[in-house]
Symmetry: C2
Subunit: 357 residues, 2 copies
Amino acid sequence: MSELKMDLIDNENKKQKPDADKIAFGKHYSDHMFIMDYSTDKGWYDPRIVPYEPITLDPAAMIFHYGQTVFEGLKAYRTTTDKILLFRPEQNFKRLNLSSDRLSIPAIDEELALTYLKKLIEVEKDWVPQAEGNSLYIRPFIIATEPNLSLAPSETYQFMIILSPVGSYYKEGIHPVRIHVEDEYTRAVRGGTGKAKTAGNYAAAYKAQERATKEGYSQVLWLDGVEKKYIEEVGSMNVFFKINGEIVTPELNGSILEGITRMSIIELLKDWGIPITERKISLEELYEAYDQDKLEEAFGTGTAAVISPVGELNWGDRNMVINNREIGEMSKKLYDTLTGIQTGKVEDLYNWTVEVK
Amino acid sequence: MSELKMDLIDNENKKQKPDADKIAFGKHYSDHMFIMDYSTDKGWYDPRIVPYEPITLDPAAMIFHYGQTVFEGLKAYRTTTDKILLFRPEQNFKRLNLSSDRLSIPAIDEELALTYLKKLIEVEKDWVPQAEGNSLYIRPFIIATEPNLSLAPSETYQFMIILSPVGSYYKEGIHPVRIHVEDEYTRAVRGGTGKAKTAGNYAAAYKAQERATKEGYSQVLWLDGVEKKYIEEVGSMNVFFKINGEIVTPELNGSILEGITRMSIIELLKDWGIPITERKISLEELYEAYDQDKLEEAFGTGTAAVISPVGELNWGDRNMVINNREIGEMSKKLYDTLTGIQTGKVEDLYNWTVEVK
Ligand SMILES: Cc1ncc(COP(=O)(O)O)c(C=O)c1O
Ligand SMILES: Cc1ncc(COP(=O)(O)O)c(C=O)c1O
């Protein structure tokens, strides 16, 4: 890939950027967006950066009826020396293609996609927030656009990237969250779409989340769909536990989303020589470890919060308070290292960051 | 409900209607559509019939990201005496609300929705095809429209109804289909969204369908997501078997869609005094019945085909040919009765049809 062929239509009506301390997640969008079309005869074509504006679709467009769509989520960070860094963006485009494969959506060229993204961020560089903890959330997504009510993959798609400045996840410092074990609703199952980042998985989780919220918890812990016994994820984060000095996390099984934060944490821990095992973890095992005073830390991992310590885990009438509702040493070290690398404060020994020039 | 308050904006550019024998499913749309909006403060508001035209949405509209959407499917039939009949439409709006509940979408007023639908069909009455076997397919659907990337139910929605003339499902007469047992991919699972008619369930099924098509089968038979042992559905149809003189169909369990054709068949059979049981049916049991020459008929049921006889069922290296690949007596009787009632040729003893005046 030497030359970049792409149209750029400038937005002449620039928006005002939100105040650094008043940014609500996912509510503000930058001045431009990236779009590229697909048709079965042309393949992916006409990549372009255009003003952020509504899109127009036939009411019979397949996205509205059969859910053929995938998305990604990553962030751009501004360093103290005013560089703009992306964190392992190639992994997001790789995962996008894996998701697309599950949803019968044609693959994109991952390298080109990254080039388009970098160009978009270059155009929108003033939208990458300055303030500590703030960042620019990046949402690539693909939707099926063919107007057709037949149950079959669409013949046309649109790939888009939109950008949204977001505030710090931890405005008042990291505070461990209360989690509720969900044993009725199922997020994903073997043979289903759990591994794919596709729209249908998310709205399906609202009922459980609503109940948890009502009962005073901030997220749900999902169990496997088959036996309702093994731990899968926490909200839309992967999950780790420190048990008796060892770190464990549920093994990838097709229904768990393969988080890039998860992957990075495993690589860090291995590099640090800390025992980390990916395996099945039953809820029962966790409660036993707790009863024996061996459960030392628990934390969720994902792009939004990076690390979200679990302070309390509730399963019916069995409640556990983890590490005295304080952030654990390991959670803290991982958080500092990852956010440090992401924002250029900690040396990136792993070549994880990609600078947007 | 006495007075109907609704705007009607006439479409002055009427389309040409497709030739009766050249109608492709889901490719032609009528001149008008129904729309109604929702916001948390106003509730459902501004019901209107407008020209069929593209809709405009923010790229951050929640439908594109988190799949909060539900739909329905039913048909309007023209009788030989030129009446227009709907088949149990109140059941579709009831199911729409059940689906909405699962997806955290606000309920609509079912009675009003039916009134809107009738008004729309009245406006579009010339779009209800004349030709034997043809009908007007009706697609009500709701999409989440709020531009927001937060993982939470949308605060705004759009409810729409679009209409599409469709040809006969059986242009060359009813011919039994070849079905492939899917034992890798899962359509739905306990605690999931299988019971809801929501977009995400459908694209998730394409991979299995693609494989079946490639191997020469026309649909897949879905097994339960937990044990991969019990029969759930066939493609996007419910399924019935006639074993040793008795009719059986998988019992409703939360992951099976509660088909209106299914419900009607059960009512018909009960009325006819024919033994019908809703229960778990394992694939193993079915093959045993087959080996003992007791499997007499198998058929899928749904709005599209009404009855779709299964001529062959393939499960790895176990293949069965049912009723000599011919339509069974019971399948035929059910098909004739249901389509007869739907098209006004058979007396509607059950008050299932609703006339659009
Ligand atoms: C269901 C789910 N699990 C886990 C994650 C974490 O993945 P990542 O670390 O790539 O953000 C995400 C994405 O944010 C997710 O949607
Ligand atoms: C998954 C699924 N199963 C079964 C059916 C049959 O339902 P109905 O008889 O109401 O058309 C449908 C809808 O067509 C469906 O989508």
